[in-house]
Symmetry: C2
Subunit: 326 residues, 2 copies
């Protein structure tokens, strides 16, 4: 078995792991910071010290470019995060690890892959990983494949219905859309809406029930949308807000009520507790997913273009470059 590496670039922290499929043998965690070159240099130093790392899977915060046929494959693209916009993550990593095969995807797609193969989705073919924290993002594996297209899913930025009484008191915090899902249901949105950081509003606070009830309305509607658009076999909720048990217990009955018996599947009607779940891999969903991405690269499960690009050879990919995206 070859030795594999994985990197999870979050907006605030970076995690580097080495190991084998499903197993983390060693890791480092450090602040992502505003100097991407220094960050990647730290990553490469860690991997070089491990000896014999054959392939590295990378999951990065977005928006980024996961299209192996694109000239900016492996770049973080239009992020507002200082220093990172337009940075060639995969290129910088290749400089430090010239002999390793490299694969790149979004942080949430990689976490979805990790949970599907080794965590909460073992035995299934499709899964959504939705993280609700500083931002909201979602990854999707369907029929075993990570899903891309025009770009990658940006599930935090969907429009959702809002109660009129809420529209009147809170405009939402998304700089692009105001009251999209992320604008009303992320951690910063909760802080802005209730005037106090969500983690400081405990069960004894007068606002506790109202805050989590409203959060559950928004997230249950978002899950209703995901059930009807991508039909996942399971939904994993991650992130500082998303993992709260008081949220899960409120979401499940609301999701059933919202779907109103239309999706007649036991997973919804009888086993909702197993349909909406927390991550089984704790804070390793991304790291183990990144190892799995590296494993797929080595075992040639990826499309040829991804392998070729990862090895530094640019090839055309007829399936992913159409007339409107070139």
């Amino acid at each position: 078995m070859s030795r594999l590496g994985g990197i999870e670039f979050g907006g605030t922290k970076t995690v580097c792991v080495v190991g084998s499929p499903g197993v983390v043998e060693d890791e480092i965690r450090f602040a992502t910071g505003d100097d991407p070159a220094a960050n990647l240099s730290t990553c490469a130093e860690f991997f070089r010290a491990q000896h014999g790392v054959e392939a590295i899977g990378v999951g990065a915060f977005g928006p980024c470019d996961p299209d192996p046929g694109s000239p900016t494959y492996g770049y973080v693209t239009t992020t507002p995060k200082p220093g990172w916009g337009g940075f060639d993550v995969l290129g910088a990593l290749r400089e430090g690890m010239p002999d390793a095969l490299l694969a790149f995807d979004t942080d949430v797609n990689v976490a979805a892959l990790g949970e599907l193969v080794h965590g909460a989705g073992r035995g299934l073919g499709s899964l959504v990983y939705l993280t609700i924290g500083t931002g909201i993002g979602g990854g999707l594996v369907a029929d075993g494949h990570l899903i891309h297209g025009l770009m990658h899913p940006e599930m935090g930025h969907i429009p959702i219905p809002r109660p009129q009484s809420e529209i009147e008191v809170f405009a939402g915090v998304c700089p692009f859309h105001g009251d999209c899902l992320e604008g009303v249901a992320s951690g910063p949105a909760l802080s802005a809406r209730w005037g106090t950081p969500a983690q400081d509003i405990g069960p004894d606070d007068d606002r506790y029930e109202a805050m989590w009830d409203l959060e559950a309305v928004y997230v249950a509607d978002a899950l209703h949308i995901l059930v009807c658009t991508v039909s996942p076999q399971r939904i994993v909720l991650g992130g500082g807000v998303g993992e709260q048990p008081q949220l899960h217990e409120r979401i499940r009955p609301r999701l059933q009520a919202s779907l109103a018996g239309y999706i007649q599947q036991p997973a919804i009607s009888r086993h909702i507790d197993e349909f909406v779940v927390g991550p089984a891999l704790g804070n390793h969903s991304g790291g183990i997913g990144a190892l799995e991405l590296a494993h797929r690269l080595v075992s040639e499960d990826l499309v040829p273009a991804q392998q070729s690009m990862a090895a530094g050879r640019a090839v055309a990919d007829d399936d992913s470059i159409g007339p409107i995206t070139s």
Copy 2:
């Protein structure tokens, strides 16, 4: 080249075609009716008269079961359409065509496949086909694969934001969700909202502008949701309402405004006229998609379980049967 067959079961009409990939050589069209056994018998008679049809692809209205690992694979399941609920479409077809390989999916997934491979999506890897007519439904091909999971996409039944003034005057017509997308934007919803069938409200009618402007608000929000959840490279709008050019011209700028520059892709910012389009295959999206499904079956592009089931042999499919769906 083997001779292929295809069936598109719509809620109102059935289309049977024979031909080769991308080419319809002969076809029949007839009312779907309330007697599914008689319907399938007519289909089988048509195919038998053609001689040598090796494989037949079937696209059916839903909800239906497209999971080759399920005991009800090939059934229409919970449809309100009289006579069809719980009917074994593939089983009835196999009785009339015992020697043909059979594959089954939703009508809209099959139409999406047809448009991707031979129509408006040629050269691309992913596409959504959204039909807006008597109902609203969507099919999804991503990275060349038809997408399934817990069930199949049911894109008509997503919750969407509604203007408060509209909430006050119209509750929507969906018997399950009231004012989901289908409840406010399908043909019957337009008729109920405006008191006149949509096709009778022409450009000279006082209500024409308001009706299409409101329809564009709803559909543009739905497309915003699809862009952020499944990231298609192109969206094809079909159906009696969906194909109206006055709708397309209203949707495109609204979709751009709704996404508000967040998805920085030329397909959205510069080539929106090529991103939201009508079907290139006219009323043959489903038929040519069904032929393509049959072609994939014959050329062994389908997963083994689908081929085995289609040949009448039940096999376990570890990827599609998880603990929560069994």
